[in-house]
């Protein structure tokens, strides 16, 4: 019995230790230091950079961009570690073993990283270096900051538009409005004698590859959040317009038939992609698909075109816009050389030559206006569609939110019920989505 107080004391110590885990701070970024010549006089250092790129071509492109940085800062060595996921970054920061610079493929964790201080606020150094962030589109600025804290910079962006198979289009031009899309889908869809789909003009299912609500929403200008951060899904009529249009088209196909067809299709990332195989005439997809088609031995001969997504008939000004998000990069808390790290982040995200190098190699959209207009950017008409979408003033994104994954989960789950016909009252269903998102927001302290 005498050991009990001792054990309790020991356990309390352990619990308290755990509670303070991840609170150790390294040198912090932000001591105002002008860039340029004085920054180049930074003392020698070795930076550790973690990123998610993994294929040989991606890694080489990233190393080429870093080589440009080394020319500017020969005294700074960069050790790049490939194939790193967000969980590893978070764990390393918590464990006090953060790299100097970390990049992520998704924007879903930006809000948490910013609000918890896991990544350092870049605002002071951006100000002291006189960087004009308006060189970035508003959407890119939006997914890299949270509640006034800019803890990330956009590295490369993805923009979403429409791909169409010219052979299957029967001489038609890509649609510009939702009603044109409906009409063309019906015209291009081929069924067998039993009504089974052989070729779909367009797949309206939200379960189909890239047809997530985030990617579809810009077609009607639908908003995810209100100004106060609460869910706007139930109150923004644009969602209702989009979903009503979408359900009408699903019903025209027949949900069962559409699902049967969807499940018969090949892997999104493989050579059997239905667009490659001529099973779907028009698809919503990201700019990276152009590189995938070019690199696929069979698909590279595909005669296809790209266009902005069709938009609401009542909002023609949206035409040309779309969805964008992308990879992000920042300086974690606990970075050993934060000032050096910032110079690297600044180079990778604002240096035109670096962005063009990465964009040409990876076929992702460069984020700054100067890079997008650079004569060194590979000239490709199909890819240019996405550069235009990215820079369109009405192009939108999924803004950083503390429950980003949860919110998308809740809405996507609802949409499956909606398109299969299990939701009788759309307004009530969308209000319920709002409630679930807002309840979780309250619990998360948002």
């Amino acid at each position: 019995m005498r050991f009990i107080p001792l054990a309790v004391a020991g356990l309390s110590a352990l619990v308290l230790t755990a509670c303070t885990t991840g609170k150790e701070a390294g040198p912090s970024l932000g001591a105002p230091k002008p860039s340029g010549a004085s920054s180049q006089a930074l003392p020698p250092a070795t930076l550790e950079l973690w990123h998610g790129f993994s294929t040989d071509a991606e890694v080489k492109a990233f190393e080429d961009a870093i080589a440009g940085f080394n020319k500017k800062f020969p005294q700074i060595k960069v050790n790049a570690k490939k194939g790193i996921q967000d969980d590893q970054i978070t764990a390393a920061i918590r464990g006090g073993k953060a790299p100097d610079v970390a990049a992520s493929f998704t924007t879903d964790n930006v809000a948490q990283w910013c609000s918890s201080g896991a990544f350092q606020d870049l605002t002071p150094v951006i100000k002291s270096d006189g960087i004009d962030l308006t060189v970035l589109p508003a959407a890119s600025r939006s997914y890299t900051e949270f509640q006034g804290k800019r803890c990330m910079m956009p590295l490369l962006a993805d923009a979403y538009g429409m791909f169409y198979n010219k052979a299957l289009m029967k001489g038609e031009q890509p649609p510009k409005t939702l009603s044109e899309l409906t009409e063309l889908t019906k015209k291009l869809t081929v069924r067998d004698a039993d009504g089974n789909i052989k070729v779909a003009g367009f797949m309206p299912s939200t379960q189909y590859y890239e047809n997530s609500p985030s990617h579809l929403g810009p077609m009607t200008g639908a908003k995810w959040y209100n100004e106060d951060g609460t869910s706007a899904i139930g109150s923004d009529p644009a969602w209702k317009e989009l979903l009503t249009w979408q359900k009408d088209l699903v019903d025209w196909f027949g949900y069962e038939k559409l699902e049967k067809f969807r499940k018969s299709l090949g892997d999104e990332w493989g050579a059997e992609h239905p667009f490659f195989e001529g099973k779907v005439a028009m698809v919503l997809d990201g700019e990276w698909r152009t590189a995938m088609i070019a690199n696929d031995p069979e698909a590279k001969s595909l005669d296809y075109g790209t266009a902005p997504l069709p938009v609401s008939d009542t909002k023609p000004d949206l035409f040309g816009s779309g969805f964008t998000a992308g990879s992000v990069i920042g300086v974690p808390r606990g970075a050993k050389n934060p000032q050096h790290a910032w110079e690297l982040v600044k180079h990778l995200t604002t240096d035109t030559e670096s962005l063009v190098t990465l964009s040409n190699a990876l076929r992702n959209v460069p984020t700054t206006k100067a890079a997008a207009e650079s004569p060194n950017l590979s000239d490709d008409e199909k890819f240019k569609t996405f550069l235009d979408i990215f820079s369109h003033p009405k192009t939108s994104t999924l803004p950083a939110n503390i429950n980003s994954v949860f919110n998308q989960d809740v809405f996507s789950t609802f949409l499956i019920q909606w398109e299969k016909g299990a939701v009788k009252d759309l307004d009530a269903g969308l209000k319920d989505v709002d409630k679930r998102i807002n309840d979780k927001m309250k619990l998360s302290g948002g």
Binding site: T107, K260, F323, T397, T413, G445
Partner: protein, 315 residues
């Protein structure tokens, strides 16, 4: 003045030094127990009363519990997990026992069959699950093509909420090799003379199984049932992989994979825990899920132990 109480010190000191020595010998176990069981348990309870995003901690009382009680995904995942305990575990055990019994009866080629039945359990979980989902793909999978050849329209195995858990059960039965080997060893341990005596007394095969085999292998049955139930309560990898592969969805910019496809029918409580803690950064809520699992495992284990004890006593 001397008293009987004063005569005690010698044995007491001896007992104390004995106790200390025992404690020293037990210390590796005690340290392990504290670090890997007691501390995580206390920390889980502690975090369950907090808003904890892996970096910041804030006391919020019972808010996590209140939210979890109202969260329909929790109840959906708990129901799915319970389904696996009630249907998948008995199916696995019966199938493993059936195979083991079969192997004891085979006269020639037993080693070959034993190897064939055991091999699937050596295949990595992820690879086995992916292969299973491909085989059961309603459009391109071999199983439905074979069924179609004999005039049967196969179901949408992993794509239909009514078939998804039975499909997982089939996958679990396919990989039952380890349990089968444990049962086989137990069956081969049953003394033959018991069967011979029963046979002379006129007991048939079923009576022999009920009155000799089952009682003799009941400790192994109990062990396999309890470990099977705990395994089912922790069921994660196969459900997550099957769900992801069958849905065809991936994580990309502006698009996230929602576990549980189709219609949340493959969402188990451990997956929901993982999602809450590591995707939604709600470690406090995930701690409540973990405590639910802990309590469920305790309750099931106690019920099973009691049932087996009653069965033993009844015999």
């Amino acid at each position: 003045m001397a008293s009987p109480v004063h005569a005690a010190p010698k044995p007491s000191r001896w007992r104390r030094s004995e106790g200390l020595r025992a404690l020293v010998w037990m210390s590796p176990f005690l340290v392990g127990l504290m670090v890997f069981l007691i501390y995580p348990l206390i920390a889980t309870v502690y975090y369950s009363f907090h808003r904890y995003d892996l970096f910041t901690l804030e006391f919020i009382g019972l808010d996590n519990y209140a939210y979890v009680l109202k969260d329909e995904r929790v109840w959906q995942s708990a129901t799915n997990t319970l389904w696996l305990v009630v249907f998948m575990v008995p199916a696995q055990l019966l199938f493993a026992l059936g195979l083991a019994l079969l192997l004891t009866k085979i006269k020639t080629g037993a080693a070959i069959f034993r190897t064939i039945f055991f091999l699937p359990s050596l295949i990595p979980l992820v690879a086995g699950t992916v292969a299973f989902v491909f085989l059961l793909n309603p459009g391109t999978g071999a199983v439905n093509q074979v069924l179609a050849a004999v005039g049967i329209t196969g179901p949408d195995w992993f794509g239909d909420p009514a078939w998804s858990k039975p499909s997982l059960t089939m996958l679990a039965m396919w990989g039952v090799g380890n349990t089968m080997m444990i049962f086989l060893a137990a069956l081969l341990d049953v003394p033959k003379h018991l069967y011979e005596a029963a046979s002379i007394d006129g007991a048939g095969a079923f009576r022999q199984f009920r009155s000799i085999t089952l009682p003799m292998i009941s400790p192994v049955l109990m062990f396999s049932t309890i470990t099977g139930v705990i395994y089912a309560l922790q069921y994660f990898t196969q459900a997550m992989i099957a769900s992801r592969v069958a849905s065809g969805s991936t994580d990309s910019a502006g698009s996230v994979f929602t576990p549980g496809y189709p219609d949340g029918s493959l969402l188990t409580l451990p997956q929901h825990l993982f999602q809450s803690g590591f995707r939604d950064w709600s470690m406090g809520m995930a701690s409540v899920h973990a405590l639910m699992l802990f309590v469920a495992a305790m309750v099931f284990t106690l019920i099973l132990l009691r049932q087996f004890r009653f069965a033993e006593e009844a015999r």
